[in-house]
């Protein structure tokens, strides 16, 4: 078994208190849980994602339709709300998860990680590389996981401070609003460009791909649909007997209203996804690792790193869907290729494993998780900063355990 460095990067790192046998057993238990769910996948799961996609597309079509009449305030409000919701679903529960390959088992070329593209600025191939490969493999390893602070934020006190971090509170808000563009640029991996590891040709090709994607997004949201609304508004005004000038003015109003609606929908989606994603790895509860700590790590240790490097957000079913089930970030990091709709179902089993091996299970309400993230971002804009207190081992409440036991002992229905 590989030896861990003498002193842990995070003092309370539970990896240091687990022996090789325990790690091996943990690896086997999580593997078994993964295989158990994958053996069950079938029609019902396929129906879930198809219904979700169908609902989302109908919502887009309806919202775009309503926004044709964006000059009228109620239509504008309804369309903007619908489009915002549709964009959130498209990015979180659908796009992110399909591009993870969670639905590849269906073998459906139209819901497949290799063919999917999403409604944001980031081209699919670029994101899949930086996210599925770099982030999910090297999760929370300082220097390897480019999602630790996204190369612009200081989120860990041990990252060396420099004066540029003073701007962190402002860049934070800027990134929140323009998150999709931040993600697109982040995929370029500036560090690799600076160090010359990435060839100029590769950088140029990636930039071109972003350009193509960005052009399509801008054309659609900020030119084509406002144009259609403008034409509709002018047409309605003309039909009502307005003269030419009044009709043109109405058209201009309609186009402007839709342009604003589209921009708001994009920003709402940006802020929402930023909030959910920042709560995944930056709350106080999560652990960070060094390259030495993960060199040649065993499968069991890989699972433990994923488990303690992520944090959940507690909430109701609708909240989980809107967050793309990334509110089950822990389960997602253990099993990135598992259909998101199954995370909620396996969460009690994951907790039970945590309880038995004395591991933390990171979770909290949205306000608490996001609050600690924002506190960290503000505090670490300044030099210094100390480690935050880490949670101890998860202890399963007796009533939850009773519920789990009951499920396990349930006599299956006949026939």
């Amino acid at each position: 078994m590989p030896k861990l460095p003498a002193t842990p990067y995070d003092p309370a790192n539970p990896l240091y208190s687990l022996n090789d046998e325990q790690l091996e057993a943990i690896g086997k238990e999580f593997d078994a849980l993964h295989d158990e769910v994958f053996d069950e996948l079938g029609d019902e799961d396929a129906r879930y994602i198809r219904n979700m996609i169908r609902f989302q597309r109908r919502l887009v079509a309806a919202s775009r339709g309503v926004l044709l009449f964006s000059r009228f305030k109620p239509a504008w409000a309804l369309g903007t709300a619908g489009l915002s919701l549709a964009k959130i679903l498209e990015n979180m529960e659908i796009g992110h998860n399909v591009m993870h390959g969670q639905w590849d088992w269906m073998n459906d070329p139209n819901i497949h990680s290799s063919t999917w593209d999403w409604d944001t600025a980031s081209p699919a191939a670029a994101w899949k590389h930086s996210h599925n490969y770099v982030h999910h493999t090297f999760t929370n390893v300082i220097g390897k996981d480019k999602d630790v602070g996204y190369e612009i934020f200081r989120v860990d006190p041990r990252q060396p401070w420099n004066p540029a971090y003073l701007l962190q509170p402002f860049t934070n808000i800027l990134l929140m609003v323009a998150f999709e563009w931040g993600v697109a640029l982040h995929d370029l991996d500036f560090e690799k460009i600076r160090s010359g590891e990435k060839s100029q040709k590769q950088v140029w090709q990636e930039l071109k791909a972003i350009g193509v994607k960005a052009r399509r997004q801008i054309l659609k949201d900020y030119i084509a649909y406002p144009g259609l609304s403008g034409a509709a508004a002018a047409g309605v005004a003309f039909a009502r007997g307005a003269d030419q000038n009044a009709a043109i003015a109405a058209g201009r109003d309609g186009a402007k209203a839709t342009l604003v609606a589209d921009a708001i929908a994009n920003v709402v989606r940006n802020v929402w996804s930023n909030v959910i994603i920042f709560c995944g790895h930056f709350p106080d509860q999560t652990f960070m690792f060094t390259e030495d700590e993960v060199a040649n790590e065993s499968r069991g240790a890989w699972y433990v790193r994923q488990l303690i490097g992520a944090a959940n957000i507690s909430g109701r079913p609708l909240f989980h869907i809107l967050s793309g089930n990334l509110s089950f970030q822990v389960e997602h990091h253990l099993f990135p290729d598992m259909p998101s709709s199954r995370y909620q179902q396996i969460a009690p089993r994951v907790k039970e494993i945590c309880d038995r091996y004395g591991l933390p299970y990171n979770t909290g309400r949205l306000g608490k998780q996001w609050g600690t993230v924002q506190r960290t971002l503000l505090r670490l804009a300044l030099p210094g900063g100390g480690p935050r207190r880490k949670p101890g081992a998860y202890v399963m409440p007796p009533e939850e355990r009773a519920e789990l036991d009951e499920q396990a002992g349930l006599v299956p229905a006949f026939p």
Partner: protein
């Protein structure tokens, strides 16, 4: 587990492959897709223009919300009816959602169907006429015990079931000009492509001198038995010689002289189980008339490559798995034995489900024996064996 990548810190990760936006980004070699339907010029323009409003999706995806078969993303079909045939087979009649491209009698179709949420693909000979007046297509499927798709086609599929239609493939067709003297040899479900060919000859009024030797277990078990007996009655130029293996025993090549003494002068079409094909092929080669022989072989012959063919080792770069393949063992089989979780479909080189990038080394095509050196190309791991050490991105 394919996603379970062990961190390799010394690997130089220089990025990913940037996709060419002009290509059809919604088609990928990693997942099998139906054929591209042929649509009108107007429809293509609508798609091109409409993309401005629907990007990154296609207008098709919104049309499909109204009627799924309006989508032009891939060719699909709807089962119109199923006809039970003799010999535990079923003819599945399908109406494609867009115009059916012409096929040649004897060719096969890759057909996909969803079973419990998972789309599966298989290849079956097309049994319908090439230019059916109603644009219908059919395949005839024999129930294979323990199979995944054939029992569904035989027992569960009914009118309305959606299927996915892949490309039409196969070199087993009638040559032009049509042969004057022909011999057809078939056994079991191998009759399906030959049935298509015979119907074509019948329709073209070109059955002048054809002998057909077919083996089935009993007379009642013969797929298309009635139709072919009927044909033999109508067409004096078509002679059907049935062998019923339950009574007569298996057909062997030495019976050929007795059943059709001028077989050496006939263009021969052969379709059936592998043992039969091997035996007949050997005979034709020994007699120096292999160029008369056309064969449909649904299963590749593994390990006839000749030359080195010593097998080798495989490193699956994504899963980190190491495998050893003995002589004639495909990368897929070797990988599975070593515990790698690999995607596969047909396991005979036609569906491309198992493709992976060959990063280093050389592979031998187990069907042809041809050796290919790595140039970053995609290979089908079910029909390729390593020649020495290879590195595959799977």
């Amino acid at each position: 587990m394919p996603w379970m990548r062990s961190p390799v810190f010394d690997s130089s990760d220089t990025g990913y492959e940037v996709q060419d936006a002009r290509l059809r980004p919604w088609r990928s070699v990693l997942v099998e897709t139906g054929a591209v339907p042929s649509v009108s010029w107007v429809r293509r323009q609508v798609t091109q223009l409409g993309r401005v409003l629907t990007s990154p999706l296609l207008p098709d995806d919104y049309f499909a919300l109204i009627k799924p078969h309006w989508s032009t993303r891939e060719l699909t079909g709807r089962v119109v009816r199923v006809q039970p045939e003799n010999g535990r087979a079923t003819t599945v009649v399908i109406k494609p959602n867009f115009a059916w491209p012409a096929h040649k009698p004897g060719q096969y179709l890759r057909i996909g169907m969803e079973i419990n949420g998972i789309r599966h693909w298989r290849a079956y000979s097309i049994t319908s006429d090439p230019d059916h007046p109603d644009g219908l297509v059919s395949i005839t499927v024999k129930h294979a015990e323990g199979g995944r798709m054939s029992p569904v086609f035989n027992q569960q599929v009914g009118p309305g079931r959606v299927v996915f239609l892949g490309d039409i493939e196969g070199e087993f067709t009638l040559p032009q000009p049509l042969p004057k003297k022909a011999l057809f040899i078939s056994a079991g479900s191998g009759i399906t492509p030959i049935f298509s060919m015979l119907r074509e000859l019948d329709r073209q009024d070109a059955i002048d001198d054809a002998v057909h030797i077919h083996s089935s277990r009993t007379a009642d078990d013969m797929i298309f038995g009635e139709q072919l007996r009927n044909l033999a009655e109508r067409r004096p130029g078509y002679v059907l010689k049935e062998i019923h293996t339950a009574e007569d025993g298996r057909f062997t090549p030495d019976a050929l002289d007795r059943m059709c003494d001028d077989w050496r002068d006939r263009t021969t079409f052969l379709s059936g189980p592998r043992e039969l094909i091997d035996a007949i092929e050997d005979l034709y080669e020994a007699e120096g008339c292999a160029d008369h022989l056309h064969t449909e072989r649904f299963q590749p012959v593994i390990g006839i490559g000749g030359g080195g063919n010593d097998g080798g080792t495989v490193h699956f770069r994504v899963s980190g798995c190491h495998a050893e393949c003995g002589p004639g063992t495909s990368i897929l089989v070797g990988g599975e034995e070593a515990g790698a979780n690999l995607q596969f479909g047909c396991r005979m080189g036609i569906c491309h489900t198992c493709v992976g990038r060959l990063e280093d080394g050389a592979v031998r095509d187990l069907r042809t024996g041809a050796i290919e050196k790595a140039s970053g190309q995609m290979i089908r791991i079910c029909i390729n064996a390593p020649e020495g050490h290879v590195e595959v991105d799977l």
